[in-house]
Amino acid sequence: MAEFLTKSRARNIFYGGSIFFVVIFVGMTVHSHKYVVEVSTAGMPLSDAVIRGKHVWEENSCINCHSLHGEGAYFAPEVGNVMTRWGVQDSPEDAFEILKSWIESQPSGIEGRRQMPRYEMTDEDIRGLAEFLRWADQTDTQGWPPNDAG
């Protein structure tokens, strides 16, 4: 490597530059945080039901089979837009009903088909999950996914 780049210069560039990028990153994070709260997820209130649904989603670790906004496991369908796919995004009652019948019909037991486990959930839990998934679905995700297949 060239002579002008001594070890101590390389070190100083490393420290100085890293601080520079950290500062920019923190600034953009603050802005993004605000943007999420005020713009991209503001279309629907973050209600108790949504929060409960998020906890149900987490306690059952649905993420380790499904993806949500494209993140998670790739073993089962994307659910960030499942309410749109089922055509119930605009109707909380229909969303609850269809999700309830889905969950209660698992596992399918069909030979050669991936199985979703049976979860014993109260109606409140299922209603929360449905609201959580509707809430996720209404988030402005810059036009992703490309189509309803998810």
């Binding site: 993140e71 790739y74 490309p146």
Partner: protein, 449 residues
């Protein structure tokens, strides 16, 4: 082994290899569920298997890093570890936490953020263990000689521990949850862990090739500078579609493209050092793993990362088998192979013998690396077809998966090769059959300058 306290590394490496075994067996099982979906479906659902597979990986890599630090810091700072007792205490906390986590998962107790499923008490245990570690190694280094290698290693370890704070922050707002989640996940593997990797690699190359310390350390600073300059804002490549502002599409695409550079530099570094090296170290297997690690990291992280990092591509490939292909090869090359390089280098010394079982060890390198490469190829094919059918044509997810079964079968075969390689590796490290000092040829006759 120059310093008695380096011995603690031995126990870290043993624990790491045990978990490595669990990790790959978990992977093999998960891969089998893709082939035969009803297998164990009622007893051990896929999500639990996957959780064990990924968590075991992360914990054993960390155990390996801790062990590597305890091994190399005494040599670098030329003194014993500040408190070997604390180092053992730290290991006990980590092992108990790990067993606790695996036990919890098996009975269905876990969190729901990917990779961060550990029960709260285990998360605290990890935090405490990290603090003990930082105290211990910082005191050692402060009292001794300071080198660029320990500087960068400590900085990486401090920063990655600091980022662990975000494992405790889980906002109710899903988009915020996701944003802060990446502060652990991305800023670990594509920033702070790269510091750890580069410094350990520098140490290994210093020892194995005998190149001048000045040269090695200058490279080291350049590598880690490019890693952080690209990796910090490169986090934006995960912010495209989760509810964050649109400007991340440009910031993320541009900076994450630069993330290829540190991996390219690490690969070049390794080969240039071997080329320039005047020393012919008898542990050839350690050299193979070091070169292999930096090379496969360049392909897995650099090439396969770049493949889907531009937002125009990622729009279609996001969350498909393309991601799975990349994740596997990147982790294997950068962090698994590097750890195995350290074990291969350090274990004979920790057991106070000449290098042993070199041929067996090198065979395990080719078996594992070949297996991982094949797995990456078949998953990439599967992902390409999936992207087209599902994201372009719009076919339903489950139907698309049905048409990929041949790839999943081949992936399982590749995984089997990796598992056999892993077992071979562990055997070659643990069971000394024969000393195998491969007689070096004449040292590089015209040493480069």
């Amino acid at each position: 082994m120059k310093y008695q306290s380096q011995k603690v590394a031995y126990w870290y490496f043993l624990a790491a290899m045990a978990l490595f075994g669990i990790q790959v067996l978990g992977g093999l099982l998960a891969g089998w569920v893709y082939v035969s979906p009803n297998f164990l479906a009622e007893v051990l659902p896929f999500n639990i298997i996957r959780m064990i597979h990924t968590n075991a990986l992360i914990v054993w890599l960390l155990l390996g890093f801790f062990g590597a630090a305890y091994f190399l810091i005494p040599e670098e700072s030329e003194r014993e570890i500040w408190s070997p007792k604390l180092a053992y205490l730290q290991l006990i906390i980590l092992v108990v936490g790990t067993l606790g986590a695996v036990g919890s998962y098996l009975v269905g107790i876990h969190g729901g953020r990917e990779f961060l499923e550990q029960p709260l008490w285990v998360k605290f245990g990890i935090l405490v263990a990290a603090l003990i570690f930082l105290l211990n190694v910082s005191m050692t280094v402060l009292a001794g000689k300071k080198t660029a290698i320990t500087n960068v290693l400590l900085m990486g370890m401090w920063l990655l521990s600091l980022l662990w704070i975000f494992a405790f922050i889980n906002p109710d707002n899903l988009s915020l949850d996701k944003m802060y989640w990446w502060f652990v996940v991305h800023l670990w593997v594509e920033a702070t862990w790269e510091l750890v990797m580069a410094s350990i690699l520098a140490f290994l190359l210093l020892k194995l090739t005998g190149v001048d310390r000045e040269v090695v350390e200058k490279w080291l600073y350049v590598i880690v500078a490019t890693a952080l300059f690209s990796g910090i804002l490169g986090t934006g490549h995960h912010f495209y579609w989760i509810g964050l502002p649109g400007y991340w599409q440009w910031i993320g695409s541009i900076f994450s493209t630069f993330e290829v550079i540190p991996f390219f530099l690490m690969m070049s570094f390794a080969f240039v050092m071997v080329w320039k090296g005047r020393k012919n170290h008898p542990n050839k297997a350690a050299l193979l793993w070091s070169l292999g690690s930096s090379t496969v990291a360049f392909f897995g992280a650099g090439v396969w990362g770049f493949l889907h990092t531009l937002h125009g591509v990622n729009y279609y490939s996001h969350g498909t088998q393309i991601t799975a292909a990349h994740g596997h090869l990147a982790f294997y090359g950068a962090y698994v192979a590097l750890n195995l390089a350290v074990f291969t280098y350090a274990m004979p010394m920790l057991r106070e013998r000449a290098p042993y079982n070199q041929v067996l060890n090198m065979a395990s390198f080719w078996l594992m690396t070949g297996g991982m490469a094949f797995m990456t190829f078949v998953l990439t094919f599967a992902g390409t077809i999936q992207t087209h059918m599902q994201r372009v044509v719009g076919d339903y997810y489950m139907d698309v998966q049905d048409s990929l079964s041949i790839f999943y079968l081949m992936r399982w075969g590749a995984g089997l090769a990796v598992v056999i390689g892993a077992i071979l590796f562990i055997y070659s490290i643990m069971v000394v059959r024969k000393s195998e000092v491969i007689t070096p040829g004449s040292a590089n006759p015209v040493p480069g300058e």
